[in-house]
Symmetry: C2
Subunit: 518 residues, 2 copies
Amino acid sequence: MLSTARAAMEGILFTDQYQLTMAQLYFRMGLHEREVLFDHFFRRYPNYDSHQAGYCVNAGLEWLLAWMQEARFGPDEIDYLRSQQTSAGSRLFADDFLEWLLANGDFSGISLRAIPEGRVVHPNVPLTIVQGPLAMAQILETSLLAHLNYPTLIATKASRISESGRGRPILEFGMRRAHERGANAGTRAALIGGAQFTSNVGVSRLLDLPPKGTHAHSMVQLFMALGMGELGAFQAYADVYPNDCMLLVDTVDTLASGVPNAIRVFEVLRRKGHEPVGIRLDSGDLAYLSIQAAKMLNDAGFGDCAIVLSGDLDELVIWQILTQISEEAPRYGVDADHLINRLVYGVGTRLITSWGEPALGGVYKLVAVRENGTWDSAIKISDTPAKVPNPGMKRAWRLYDRRGKATADLLCAIDEDPTQADMLVLRHPSDHTKFRTIQRRELSGMEELHTDIVHEGKLIANLPPLDELRQRRINDVERLDPGIRRLVNPHIYHVSLTQSLWDLKQRLITEAHQATVA
Amino acid sequence: MLSTARAAMEGILFTDQYQLTMAQLYFRMGLHEREVLFDHFFRRYPNYDSHQAGYCVNAGLEWLLAWMQEARFGPDEIDYLRSQQTSAGSRLFADDFLEWLLANGDFSGISLRAIPEGRVVHPNVPLTIVQGPLAMAQILETSLLAHLNYPTLIATKASRISESGRGRPILEFGMRRAHERGANAGTRAALIGGAQFTSNVGVSRLLDLPPKGTHAHSMVQLFMALGMGELGAFQAYADVYPNDCMLLVDTVDTLASGVPNAIRVFEVLRRKGHEPVGIRLDSGDLAYLSIQAAKMLNDAGFGDCAIVLSGDLDELVIWQILTQISEEAPRYGVDADHLINRLVYGVGTRLITSWGEPALGGVYKLVAVRENGTWDSAIKISDTPAKVPNPGMKRAWRLYDRRGKATADLLCAIDEDPTQADMLVLRHPSDHTKFRTIQRRELSGMEELHTDIVHEGKLIANLPPLDELRQRRINDVERLDPGIRRLVNPHIYHVSLTQSLWDLKQRLITEAHQATVA
């Protein structure tokens, strides 16, 4: 399975089989070029069991767009589809369909509106709205979800970890525990969501960030096996990297060996005119060890060098560490705030896999079909009212209260303009007893969430650099109520329908039920 | 970020930065070509909170080998490394090192022994043993772990799900919730571990399996929006795929609409001489609905067609469904065994993400360094005795008791031959109070676990097709004690050291502690 074979698996065949069988059915019915609308959205925030997200951070769009630009059915893929058989041994895909697919099997007919990457997003608000001919819009589903679900999950986790770390730097270290090549998409999402740097070299290069990392336990082990010991390893490191001397101090014994040896090396470094960068603690009671290490470093005159913590960290573990430091540090004569302000977090497994909830359940639902020039709204009934998607072609607005905090996302029909209304009715998407009204003057602003990204296959939006995506997240998180941002049991942010969209939804549900009875 | 940029990120730069800074340090010390040995192993089975694995299934090796064959430092990568800077603004990587890396930066010096893919594996037994020059063996770490950790995790989950489903077919459906491109490696691992087929088209093609899948809710929604209803959708599907008619029956109402409509279509199909394949249930109480659907299908004369269940399934959910069917089916006049024997499981999110424990903590530890022709064993001390790796160049044997069941994996020093001993002492890897002795005649067989895969960069083993990997798993699982196989609180399988390996480990630990004190 060399890279050519891998590329073949990652092109247009990076999809589920039923997308292809449905496409042929639509072709057979003459529906394959019928214009349709799909909404991509998620239904609930990640719930990590002991803690829960109150918002998500949207990510992944740019790499999806790159995939869409290149993926198409070429002769190689068509040959493969021609070889597929039915249970009866006949050809599964007929020649006329395959000929059409060879000529039309790309995304040049697809238009796409989306909430930009880096924005804070909420359940049931479409993140991506896909418009285009039915067959190719349907075939897009699998890859779109595979490219967007995971990055949004990881950007969300990174944002929480960053908030828990009180703005101190987060380093993404998770590559070795990631889901194989998914590591790269996860790393990029982490960098959008709150990680400052990553150890991932390839992604750092692409995003023009310096990759971070110093040495592993194996380096110390090697020097020990060769009779040069931990101190020898540290000295060698300081000799080669005098301006970037960050030492991992827990290979033998953190307080009895690692920190004292690091201090000896730091002293030599300083005499040579170089300031040491810091130490890294990767095991044990990180709160206790960081207090003791800080004390030793302070006493030796290295009160400023960083203390990097790593080892199964996540937002809850960091919160616990900071709580313990605040309580315990003063007892040892260490200023807790000073210590907290020199901490850096190396976060691996639990960030790159979104530990506790390793998937975001983003879905891709048909919401409208164009017939004779007008859009017919589509619905999917469910026993669970919250799972019935909001139908039709829609727009979404974020409403800001007088404090400038986001108070609701409002979904409305395409022909509504809520900015012109004096009073807005905000209906709960599925519970008919829940609604509230807002006077326009109670709001400091309203902001439309979607922007045009692709028009009939052509990219029409700028794809901003990483810094801008990061700034969007920071701005949006800042405009969330603290109750939404908290790590455990966050308040529920309001996602609402206008009265008119609510009425449409109810009408379609009723019609679908009547059709069943009939 | 087009495919060329993606390829650049997935080549030799698919690594952590510290592998490169360590490599330069080794170069500077003249140690970069020193021959070393790294063991890759995991320390504990996945623990999914409410249930736990008692064994793992090894997977991922073939795709790692493909990566190793192509990944190398070329002029492009060297240019990038040349651009990296220290904190002081000087060059991070010096020219002499980069020249060496350009000439030697591939895996042609690496030899690799491994437990073959598909084999059942246990903690602390090396899955992969890497031997070669220090710098490149070190640089291999990140990619090796990223290529092996995740597939072993997923093959393990698939094996559990397959056992829970009592051998009925498992279909892998997880692509849309996978970690982006990791989907493909996860799918392959699922197919090794117990999934019979997948919906993933690209991987099916590579592995020469028919991809599985029929239609989504969106197809039914579309027909409803166009006024043709669910029945119209089913009829269209049956017309286009008369020999592969599998209908998703829960878009509107499973029992009031979906199943009756499916039966109407099946009746027409049969009159035309085609047997329907089955129905799929994707929401609601799957146990209850499958009983009611089976009853309706039976009454209509479709007692043989399959009932595919999907929707957040895992081994625990399947176990619950089967338990409920066994208890409840008879009350409705449905034979529970007959129903269970027509079930098929479509498993998505919870398989492809290993829900409950989304990472396997496989590590890569230096265990020996060659000096003057002899191997010096390396050790890493830890406050947690179970985390101290087993040192030196080792072999591993699996011991089978008189029933033919695996009773222990035994690690021994490279120069030991346990097959020649009349009596074996099996020491617990870290608890000195735990050991047992076994007479050779109490064993029905002993089997060495590692095979030579790569010799100095050259593949010397056959990489068998999927069928063979699957058969290995089936054989190995069959030879596990039922207590090891159970889904909750499995027995602990014995992984042991010979007395001689135990003695070496204790000596190295003592020496390391003495070095600290000194």
